[in-house]
Amino acid sequence: MLRAGRARKDPEMDNLVLENVCKNFGGFAALRNVSFTVGAGQKVALLGHNGAGKTTLMKAILGLQPADSGRIAVMGAAPGSLRARRQVACLPENVAFHSALTGREQIRLYLRLRGQPVKLADELLERVGLGPAANRRIGTYSKGMRQKVGLAQALIGSPRLMILDEPTSGLDPVSRREFYAILDELAGQGTAILLSSHALTEVEARTDRIVILSRGQVVADDTLAGLRAAAGLPTRIQVAARPGAADEVARALQAGRRNGVMVDLTCSPEDKLERLREITALGAKVRDLDVVPPSLDDIYEHFSRRAEE
């Protein structure tokens, strides 16, 4: 297992601590010795296939479905305790608010549940971009707008820990960017954020650390750069040769020719610069080149498949 190269401090100071958390459903191990932490101001992505245990883990953190063994501490308190619930906000997967209520009425309910003044509702809806729709019934909202209602309720009362289960599903690219901007703001105020996703492409540079869960086990816990280095996947270089020079270029580089002008070669990340020097040495025979690092999906595949072997 990989560890983030982050300065170690007292682990009890972390907003969320998981130690050897296990959960079985009638013989099926949904979570196996899950351990990681989320510190103040950190944004951590929890990745995994459907059924990898993301939602089970989140329910255990929220105290909705207690873990069988191991330790979970939310701001130092037991999951599901009143002290923990006062400081945690969540957004469950596929939450569908009552269609008969307006966005404002729905947020007023959640403000009351946190003991906050209901007049904050408009401000919250404005913040997630639902200001103009506050008076409309949720039944008339699009999927993205409903997801924003869910985000608005999670923002109530500046929580110390946010648990978001696939929060960006249904959001268009612009809304997704706005969503991450709000998360950045919260993290800046010291909120710890754990969000799940089934695609690495969705979270890419938006999170500080990535935890990959496969079959209930943590198979990676690192920054994106760290994951990239640990995976050691080859970088592809595509060279476009001058017409007629493709064979000559391919021979010089000991690589395969794809068609009349394109030459493909792969190399390890460490050899990349050396190969590029070789290519530029060919001078006018080379018209253009593209360096394609392993994609996020390739890296994710690498880790989740490794666990299954």
Partner: protein, 273 residues
């Protein structure tokens, strides 16, 4: 306390926009109107005022409609939130489960009280228009009103129980319709069949009265008919009504809402969102 107020407010708004409640309120008002107008004939011969006669007719109507309204407004309360995923969200908030259920209970009983006010109000206004002496029946109407609200509260609690026992709202809906059929229709038929088979034995003497007031709907009917002689005479079931003390029927009406809500709260504590 925050949960109680929050849910009472939100659920009251939802119930106000619930088509079922609207349809049943209009039905109730129409029935009240028809019963009052149709009952305007025999008042002279019975010596009872117009409103008292209407109350007797309304009692028979309320036994069917009030539990139905209560069950239709309550069946979605737990199963609906489980299915929509909002229960998991609510339970992650710093509120207790019983306060969530109590908030819903207050809203749902409140909307029933409002619907009944409209229905019975139409009957009262019509009765006063037909008979200047209708004021004598106001006490009976008031008694019918608050006992109807209590009857409804009992069935709201039972609706929550059915909802808490189901994973999906469709299952809960089926369960409450079955409950309504059994409690309102089949229960009385069963008792009748038992009396006929027993032919005046110990069952009829000892068990029957208790089984009758054990059912909130029967207790409601008995209480309203026995409490007013005029209505008892008008409805012709004075015999059955007199066999049981109105006080015991009243106790049954009062205890059922608490008992049903307690059962529902007990079940709700075990619901995993």
């Amino acid at each position: 306390m925050n949960g109680v107020i929050g849910y009472a407010d939100a659920e009251f708004r939802i119930a106000l926009r619930n088509r079922w409640i609207l349809i049943l309120t209009v039905t109730m008002a129409l029935f009240a109107l028809v019963l009052t107008l149709a009952g305007s004939g025999p008042t002279g011969t019975l010596g009872a005022d117009q409103l008292s006669v209407t109350v007797a007719s309304l009692t028979g109507l309320a036994v069917y409609l009030v539990p139905l309204m209560a069950l239709l407004v309550s069946f979605d309360a737990v199963a609906g939130e489980v299915e929509r995923g909002t229960l998991a969200l609510t339970l992650a908030y710093p509120v207790s489960r019983w306060s969530v259920l109590l908030g819903k209970f207050m809203a749902h009983v409140g909307i029933l009280a409002l619907a009944l006010l409209v229905g019975y109000g139409v009957a009262a206004v019509t009765a006063f228009a037909l008979d200047e002496g209708a004021g004598r029946g106001l006490v009976a109407l008031g008694r019918l009103y608050w006992s109807s609200v209590l009857l409804g509260a009992g069935f709201v609690g039972l609706g929550y129980l059915a909802s808490g026992l189901s994973r999906r709202p469709a299952t809960a809906a089926g369960l409450v319709i079955g409950l309504w059929l059994v409690a309102i229709v089949l229960y009385d038929l069963g008792l009748l069949a038992a009396i006929v088979a027993d032919d005046g034995g110990t069952f009829t003497e000892r068990l029957f009265p208790w089984l009758l007031i054990g059912n909130p709907a029967d207790a409601f009917r008995l209480f309203n008919l026995a409490a007013s002689e005029a209505t008892a005479a008008a409805s012709g079931v004075a015999g059955a009504a007199n066999a049981i003390m109105p006080a015991q029927a009243l106790a049954s009406i009062l205890v059922w809402p608490l008992f049903a809500f307690g059962l529902a709260a007990w079940r709700f504590r075990r619901v995993v969102p």
